[in-house]
Amino acid sequence: MGAITAGQGLILFLMGPSAIRRAVSRDVDNGMMISHRLTPMGNWKIVMGYLTGPIVQMLILYSLGLVLGLGLSAGLAAIEGSAIKLQVWLAAQVAGLCLAFLLTTSMLLVALATGGKNTALTIIIVITAIFGAQALQYVPGMGLLLGVIGAINLLGLIPGMGSSVPGSAAVPAIGCAVQLVIGSIFFAACCRKIRRPERATFSVGLALALTAVTSLAMVGGMMSAGALTRALGAGFEPGAQMIWSTSVQLLITMLLLNAGADLAVTMDRKSRFGAHAGATLWWTYPLLAAMISFLTYVGIGAVMTRTAPGALLTLSAVTVGYSLVCAAITDYSLFYWAIARGKPVLTIGVAIVVGLRVGPMLLDGLLLGMFALLGDLSDSGPPFMFSSLSPIGVMWMAGEPESGALVVGLIAQALIAFVAWRIMSGTRRAIATPPAPAAVAA
């Protein structure tokens, strides 16, 4: 039965998503994507076509495995006089299908957003979905987002293989429900993207729904963190989990900022011709994104006061909130600039993550290693020189609130946000000014 499950996992989590990506890439290249958009089919029908068409044969194989497994587990249950094996088998199938739905919809969305060309992103998604459960010790909410039961752990559900999933049935059920909800959001985004390839991957509404659900999942995951991480045999560090969870949420809210910037650019462009008043409420998007990240941070903190009071961080929530607002303004402004100037948004997003969110801490890690090699670390210098430039670093600096680097970092964050805002303002002015006829002709 383990072999059957492994085969099904291979179909659902590896071959299926990969075939969908290839189908999108092929249709973009041969123009059939445009042909589909010129048919009177509803958007959801086209999306369903992509989700099932390229993997019809694989789905038949999966179904055969399902029938075979059902027969085997039913037979074993009859011999042993217990229906547990059959129930566990069915539970594994349901969990696998929920995860597969999330995985295939996210894969299709990424393929539609990149023309099926971003293989690296595809590999990251598949690996995250399969081994995502291993991240539970850092981000308990990932259990709800990518499966309490990651693909590898599915095997643990099979009789005789030893379950690594906690005994409570409620947590996996909630996990499956969250996956279905997020998969549905991705499905809706695919439906939108299929006829609007030029627009942002998510609309503001869908991005807001996604960030709200992930935020709840982060907090909910933290509530069951103890049981989950112990089940995986990993260390339990609530402080680190709080920071990692908020950091992941911070990255997810970039989708909301991108959607808001895309909408604002559209409105500002229309305003140039008097067709719209322009994006007068643009500031609501960064504030909303920062608020969702902040609520995640505070929500997890509230859970921690109940589950692990000794592990509470000492850094002021106001400081973290300030840092999140700066980050949101910076990200939003850079997205706005990129969209308005026709720059590659995905590249800008990766540059923001690497350069402004994760990079500073990596730099500190590098310095830390160098200081450690050179000699006595405690006398050589502070470990958080650059980390304070990132809200993630600011959260990590909770243990050293007196650090001068923190103050400098917070000021620098405001300056970075100010510069980004100025760039955006300049772009907005350029958009709002009608070009001279000569410029148009050129």
Binding site: N30, M32, S35, R37, T39, P40, R269, A275, R341, P435
Partner: protein
């Protein structure tokens, strides 16, 4: 059926800072066939893509059969046929299979699909190739297949981007007849092409686009007449016997005659457009002893109209 089949109002399309289409407006009724001409990068393809709902617009509204193409794309697709300059096909499918696939995607019945496949393959001279794989077709055949794909759902509004690009001379003649037939069936068509002589023959309207702007729009007669100038027309005079100093003799008519030249053994010059003046000039020429055997006013052609708007390159 609404009177206006396609309506484009204040269409603007921007790519980053580049304005690809700038404030284009026009509408087409049933039986209108619009020829769209302009140099490379003028905005023709972007306009067609926007009209088909495939290109995000900055401002403006586009409606087909009264439905906004962006609000109701599925409904609009029932009445729209669009053939892009690069045909969209699955190269591994046969000609008839891709058309069958398109027919099912449009929700047509099996019998209707087979009937229409037969009809359009015949009309576009692809019957012999119906079982052939698409990747074995020449560029011209693929172009015809793209047109068949656009026409299969029997749309009211047809947009063809460079449809005659890969056709041989005989194919062009048949294609002209096909477009004229569609026009006469009361459909609204837009054809982007660089074969200006063909356009003049079958189009009812002409749009000259340059730098994203609609520089000229009107019926073929309006556009070409305007190109010819409001007051002046070009005349061709055939002489029964050659006269050596004809250029000098023409100077006798003073400012009534301009830009005199000998072309293909005929006298060619510009003079007043109105018939009375032309008749008076002809009488004076005969009185002056010139052996005039024919005297005709040249119709200003599309090429002249195109050159008059100052666009140098035709794609």
């Amino acid at each position: 059926m609404p009177e206006t089949l396609l309506s484009i109002e204040n269409l603007r399309v921007q790519f980053g800072d580049f304005v690809a289409v700038d404030d284009i407006s026009f509408s087409l009724r049933g039986g209108d066939l619009l020829g769209m001409i302009g140099p490379n990068g003028a905005g023709k393809t972007t306009t067609l893509r926007a009209a088909a709902g495939l290109q995000l617009t900055t401002t403006g509204t586009i409606s087909i059969m009264g439905d906004d193409v962006f609000k109701y794309p599925a409904r609009v697709a029932e009445h729209l046929g669009f053939a892009p300059d690069t045909p969209a096909v699955y190269p591994n499918l046969s000609v008839e299979d891709i058309l069958r696939f398109i027919g099912y995607a449009h929700g047509l019945k099996k019998s209707t699909i087979e009937e229409r496949i037969d009809h359009w393959l015949d009309a576009l001279w692809l019957t012999e190739r119906r079982k052939h794989k698409i990747d074995a077709l020449s560029r011209g055949m693929r172009q015809r297949l793209a047109v068949a794909r656009a026409l299969l759902p029997d749309p009211y509004v047809i947009l063809l981007d460079e449809p005659a690009g890969g056709l041989d001379p005989a194919g062009r003649v048949q294609f002209r007849q096909l477009l004229a037939s569609l026009r006469d069936q009361g459909k609204a068509l837009i054809v982007s092409s660089h074969i200006l002589a063909d356009l003049a023959e079958y189009c009812t309207h002409i749009a000259i686009i340059g730098h994203g702007k609609l520089l000229k729009f009107g019926t073929v007669a309006e556009v070409t007449d305007e190109a010819g100038g409001a007051d002046l027309a070009t005349y061709r005079v055939r002489l029964a016997t050659p006269i050596g100093d004809i250029q000098t003799r023409m100077e006798l008519f003073g400012p009534r005659v301009r830009n005199v030249a000998i072309m293909d053994g005929q006298l060619r010059f510009e003079s007043a457009r109105d018939p009375t003046s032309a008749a008076a000039l002809l009488a004076d020429m005969v009185r002056a002893g010139l052996p005039v055997s024919s005297f005709t006013q040249e119709a200003a052609d599309l090429e002249q109209a195109y050159l008059r708007v100052g666009l140098k390159q035709v794609d």
